[in-house]
């Protein structure tokens, strides 16, 4: 897919408008974080008095365990992303190409976890984790992240496999691959695009989750929980909230920018299957 013509002006305008919708609040947060709260209380765009200060940044850094929060966030997010990316394509492959009892039913059960909102599962999960003594253990968060991600990630991988050329899989079979070898030697290396997309989605979702770590974790609190704590204090600290919000936002942004070309690139179009 190569752009063949200039986009019409209305497209440019629309995209510009959407970009503006996204960037203006971000800009607002940034400005709020580097001006004294007194100046921006009536709105960050007010320019009656403009002072640049890093005091909010310094305050939050000394007052809250931000480094630990970032580390906790990274740990939880990376672990659950890695597990999702490792497990769901394999599960989708099994559902797609292997025959085993209750295949359809189990797929439906798995994917239908979609319709269960988090709020419904946290209470039973809480009692379960208490039983196992997992409260305040990162696995109490990672396991549900991975489990809940299956609903969409298996679905995503399965959709990709539906379009995966069956001839390649048959060629692998003729070359002597069993199902596992086929998966590792042929399917996975040609699925990197869809794995990257899956990784981005899971990373963002895990990074931004609030409810589950808020309930299950005490010591290793990830960034969104810290942010909610800062927001929950009864003092006018919008500047501090903004600083932490930027810290929270910056990691997923970098990840997204690093992987976004996989999002955009068409999966199998580069594979050169057709003459």
């Amino acid at each position: 897919m190569r752009p063949s013509a200039r986009a019409p002006y209305w497209v440019v305008g629309l995209v510009g408008l959407l970009a503006l919708l996204w960037t203006v609040p971000v800009l607002g947060i940034f400005i709020t974080s580097v001006r004294p709260y007194s100046e921006t209380a009536m709105g960050w765009w007010r320019v009656d008095e403009v002072t640049f200060t890093l005091s909010a940044w310094k305050t939050v850094w000394s007052k809250y365990p931000l480094a630990e929060g970032l580390a906790a966030s990274l740990k939880i997010t990376l672990a659950s992303t890695a597990l999702t990316v490792a497990l769901s394509p394999a599960a989708a492959y099994a559902f797609h190409y292997l025959k085993f009892p209750f295949r359809r039913v189990s797929l439906i059960v798995l994917v239908n976890a979609f319709v269960l909102p988090q709020q419904v599962i946290v209470i039973p999960l809480f009692t379960l984790w208490r039983q196992f003594g997992l409260i305040d253990n990162v696995w109490a968060v990672i396991l549900p992240y991975v489990g809940m991600s299956f609903a969409w990630s298996v679905f995503l991988a399965k959709n990709f496999l539906d379009d995966f050329p069956g001839e390649l899989i048959e060629a692998a079979k003729v070359d002597g691959c069993g199902p596992i070898a086929t998966y590792f030697f042929v399917v996975l290396p040609n699925s990197l695009t869809s794995l990257a997309a899956m990784a981005i989605l899971q990373f963002l979702w895990a990074w931004n989750s609030l409810l589950i770590p808020l309930l299950f974790l005490r010591t290793d609190e990830p960034m969104p929980v810290l942010l909610s704590r800062i927001a929950g204090t009864y003092e006018p600290n919008l500047d501090q909230q903004s600083a932490v919000a930027i810290l929270t936002m910056v990691v997923p942004l970098v990840v997204f920018l690093a992987l976004q070309r996989h999002f955009v690139a068409g999966g199998l179009s580069r594979m050169g299957l057709k003459g």
Binding site: G176, N190, R270
Partner: protein, 357 residues
């Protein structure tokens, strides 16, 4: 090397019966082509042979051994897929050597085998490229290389040339024929193109809707088709079909009356003849001579000049379209072209399409 036999083989996908009931012997070392229109079950048949699909009924034997439950490797087959099915993430060398790697052949040995295969197919300078960097013909050769490198006993080709342009197709056809001469594996080739089948195979099996319509050598199918389908499918341009009525004369000889009342002499027909007939004449069997028997007048509507031969697309007085092949420099006049045909070149078919001999 392996001989293959099909015994009452049937294949259904759910309620759809794709292969009806197939009994067939394929000689060791032969080149057998399955031809038939798209959707007639050719690929399915090949996949049954490869062990990529389970058969529903009957059994397949390789060298007398039932292979129904065996996978492709156990059967000793190699397959060239219609869309090549090269692994996009591997280089040419890796593609060719992948089967060997799976068979745990040591890498030094493997490299040598890959190099030999590449030399045979003139791929040596492309060994480090990826499939996306190759032309269609080169990809096709890699696919063939991947098949020959393991010296299989049976080669399966699924329409291997259908994605190539005409010129490449002709040259790849010759390469495949040469390959068959140089290695003594049994080759099974599936195509919808009768020219490929006629030029490559020593046995052709014509399939239609999962049934074998006829099997035989290319010559047998051309000279002596069993039915109208085979007669129309084999030969290019295709046979002309005209409707006629049978007429017996006093001496017991058989004539056919065409729509406009003209009678044609036909070769001896011993058996019973239906009153309503279909008359088949190949374009190349028309003779441009006023002395030839069975004179007919063709109005030439259109001439396709291929250089050596011309195909005259015309109309008979009955209004039926006919194609006449004209050789040499003879002038084709627009209005009326007198042609004749030898009685033995007039084929007769019943209304059901069965050949009347």
């Amino acid at each position: 090397m392996a001989s293959i036999s099909f015994e009452s083989v049937g294949k259904s996908f759910g309620a759809v019966e794709v292969i009806k009931e197939l009994d067939l012997e394929i000689r060791d070392g032969s080149f057998t082509a399955f031809v038939g229109p798209s959707g007639c079950g050719k690929s399915t048949l090949l996949r049954l042979l490869a062990g990529l699909e389970n058969i529903t009924r009957g059994c397949i034997k390789f060298d007398g051994r039932v292979v129904n439950e065996m996978g492709p490797v156990e059967r000793g087959i190699a397959m060239v897929f219609q869309n090549y099915a090269l692994y996009p993430h591997m280089t040419v060398a890796q593609n060719i050597g992948f089967g060997l790697r799976m068979a745990r052949i040591p890498s030094a040995k493997r490299r040598e085998m890959v190099r030999n295969a590449a030399e045979l197919l003139q791929l040596t300078e492309y060994l480090d490229r990826r499939p996306a960097q190759l032309s269609g013909g080169q990809r096709q050769r890699v696919a063939i290389g991947r098949a020959i490198v393991r010296s299989p006993s049976v080669f399966l080709f699924d329409e291997p040339l259908s994605n190539l342009d005409a010129e490449l197709r002709a040259s790849m056809r010759i390469e495949i024929a040469r390959l068959h001469d140089s290695i003594d594996a049994t080759m099974i080739y599936v195509t919808h193109d009768q020219v490929e089948a006629m030029t490559l195979a020593d046995q052709i099996i014509v399939l239609r809707a999962g049934n074998v319509e006829q099997k035989g050598t290319p010559g047998e199918l051309y000279e002596d088709p069993d039915n109208q389908f085979v007669a129309g499918f084999i030969g290019s341009p295709r046979m002309n079909f005209l409707s006629g009525r049978s007429k017996r004369d006093e001496s017991g000889g058989c004539h056919v009356e065409l729509g406009d009342g003209q009678t044609l002499q036909v070769g001896a027909t011993g058996g019973p003849v239906e009153p309503e007939l279909i008359v088949g004449i190949r374009p190349e069997h028309f003779l441009q001579s006023r002395d030839a028997p069975n004179q007919m007048r063709v109005r030439a509507d259109f001439v396709e000049d291929l250089g050596g031969v011309r195909h005259v697309v015309g109309t008979l007085p009955t209004g039926e379209p006919v194609t006449v092949e004209v050789r040499g420099k003879r002038r084709v006049r627009k209005e009326e072209m007198p042609v004749g045909v030898m009685p033995e070149h007039v084929y007769l078919f019943g209304k059901s399409g069965r050949r009347i001999r």
